[in-house]
Symmetry: C2
Subunit: 397 residues, 2 copies
């Protein structure tokens, strides 16, 4: 079974817009082949399959009664350019494998496995199109942009509203590779996500005076890069001093950018994440204050522009506890952790209780052909999933 | 007279390869017009004028005796792209003005005013072509490259060796704008250059691990930019702690360069200058040691490559003292200073005693159309030049 999960992920990775790599954007042609395989696995597991009008593939495994509540299990089937085989895909294939393990045994709730058509935001620069349709939150402005792709795929954009989940949805579970190094560093196969971090993104610009590197003594300089460097060290120090926070300067450009000219202007990016918005906002404010103090002391000017302020999303505390007990019952240590990256669960959580289980990423590698998973970790995830379903069965029985 | 010097510089700035700007590279067509004017001013001052075969214009004001020694006074007539009117040019025009002030009075030595054809290195990426020819040091490899330009200008590259100064040369004096902020910050019109700084240029590369800015906790990062930033602060601190040193990181590139990715690789430039080569070498070694220590502590790798190691050049102590006494006798405070930038005097000093007088640069601005000089500073430079010549006259009389 486990061997089947990894093999299925690797099979789907073959369907790509770019030969030799896995590149599969929103409603691109290779998605038809992915759907064929996913549909057949779903039907073999006893599910009724449909593709909604935003391109999500949805297999419903019926309950033992009518008017039963419904559990969603899913993730996305699109990829970044030159992706690995597991980001997103693993969550869909694991959902199908869970239903297969039931061996047609009926539960007091239905299970709907959903493979979202779009999460990465590659084709239109807008992420989460699939999960947004599930919660009925597709922007009016977005429709005309994605309409032609929907029509070309053989769907009907005017019926996108039908993708919305009905009110019988009582929960959403997403399996996903961690895409980071934490579980590996702790020697753990699985992590229970308690929240998806909020994000601030800003541009911060330091301006001084470009000057000749030979003729301008140290004490008469207004070196924008020396100021930016001091601030980058402060960003790192303050983030380390804030439990749970990450802060990153990933982009830097110094002008005029010649080895023998003192930089007159430096533009940097700032990315700050935390599961508590108040902590994140306070950290950003502190970092901007530090930038101001550093600049004053150096006769520089500093300015900043906020590009993103995305709130944190908590996972449902009841489902998180259920997932933790499921991990515990398999004998693995329970490790709660935030997700520093965005996931479909973050969107779905607006409409129904949501939970996420992270699977260890060897080497922390993701968004790269070397992305992989360990067979024993996939086995563990499947086992935890079964215990999770059994716990819900008892509750709804 | 002074008004004439500034007006002559501004007139020569009109002759340009690019309308609306002053751009005049080695042996470009506008140099013909510059030579016409310079020749006529030299001849009016009583000089015999020739253009040597590297394109230097040379006016000789004869001595009161035969077989007399010769004092050179000069600077360069080429410019950087979109230059100001004074870099180089001022030194040639001041030389002519000094000879004019003699009003045909003969001295016990000849004066040769020289306008070098090339100093900036713009046209062939090789600086100091004019002054190299004066000391007989044109590389064999350079000749075929510059030959066609020399021919096109109406000169004969095979006769470039004739440009070499004869053994009767006893000194070289160069007036030049400071191109830096020191004299202005001290409220002084003039500075006596005692040495031209040596330069080290290196590339320094920090390598860590690119990773997701959201999923990689602070303690599991190998952030190449955080390491480079710590080092840039060290460069500034160590240079400040080394009297007379300047050190600059002017170029920085972080890869992959996305706001949400921890930089895996950062390339920086390092420029270090000092008038004592031992001090400069020790500072560079210390900065590279610091880069190594910072990288070890952060699990980064660092590597460096030296691009330039140019020794410092001392001005002649006798001529420096003569120039200082000349400044003192005009009533201005004597300020000795290094030149952080290279000048023709640095080349000429290999063959004859050389001295330089810096003229204050308002705003420290150079290599820019806003480059200027103050009329009273030019007046002061001219007066100091006269006192300098009078002192030499007494010595040779």
């Amino acid at each position: 079974m486990t061997k089947g999960v990894i093999e299925r992920c690797r099979l789907l990775a073959e369907f790509s817009e770019e030969p030799g790599f896995t590149t599969r954007t929103f409603l691109s042609q290779p998605m038809h082949h992915v759907h064929e395989h996913v549909r057949s696995w779903m039907e073999q597991a006893g599910m009724t399959v449909a593709i909604d009008h935003v391109g999500n593939i949805r297999g419903v495994y019926p309950a033992d009664r009518s008017n039963a509540p419904r559990l969603f299990i899913g993730s996305h089937l699109d990829t970044v350019p030159r992706a690995g085989a597991f980001d997103g895909i693993l969550g869909v294939v694991l959902g199908i494998a869970l239903v297969e393990s039931l061996e047609r045994r009926r539960l007091p709730f239905a299970i709907e496995v959903i493979g979202f058509s779009e999460e990465e935001g590659v084709r239109y620069g807008v992420p989460f199109i699939g999960s947004r349709a599930l919660i009925g939150d597709i922007d009016e402005e977005l429709l005309p942009r994605i309409g032609p792709a929907i029509t070309a795929f053989g769907l009907d954009a005017s019926r996108i509203g039908e993708a919305r989940a009905r009110d019988n949805a009582f929960g959403y579970l997403e399996f996903h590779i961690e895409q980071g190094p934490v579980l590996e560093s702790l020697g753990l196969p699985l992590g229970v996500v308690d929240a998806i971090s909020g994000q601030s993104r800003l541009d911060v610009v330091f301006e001084g005076q470009a000057n000749h590197a030979g003729t301008t003594p140290m004490n008469l300089r207004r070196d924008a890069l020396a100021g930016a460097a001091e601030w980058i060290s402060t960003v790192e120090r303050e983030a380390r001093a804030t439990p749970g926070a990450v802060a990153t300067v990933g982009r830097i450009a110094a002008l005029p950018g010649a080895g023998n000219v003192i930089p007159g202007s430096v533009t940097t990016s700032l990315d700050v994440r935390h599961t508590e918005d108040a902590v994140r906002h306070a950290l950003v404010a502190r970092l901007l204050r530090c930038a101001g103090q550093i600049s004053s002391a150096r006769c520089l000017r500093v300015s900043s522009e906020q590009r993103l302020d995305q709130p944190a999303v908590a996972m449902d505390s009841g489902l998180v506890q259920t997932l933790e007990r499921a991990v515990q019952s398999t004998g693995f240590p329970v490790h709660r952790m935030p997700s520093g990256a965005g996931h479909d669960a973050m969107i779905v959580a607006r409409r129904m209780p949501a939970a996420m289980l992270f699977v260890r990423s060897p080497g922390g590698i993701s968004h790269h052909p070397d992305e992989t998973v360990l067979a024993e970790d996939v086995e563990a995830a499947l086992e935890v999933g079964m215990r999770f379903i059994e716990a819900l069965e008892q509750r709804h029985g």
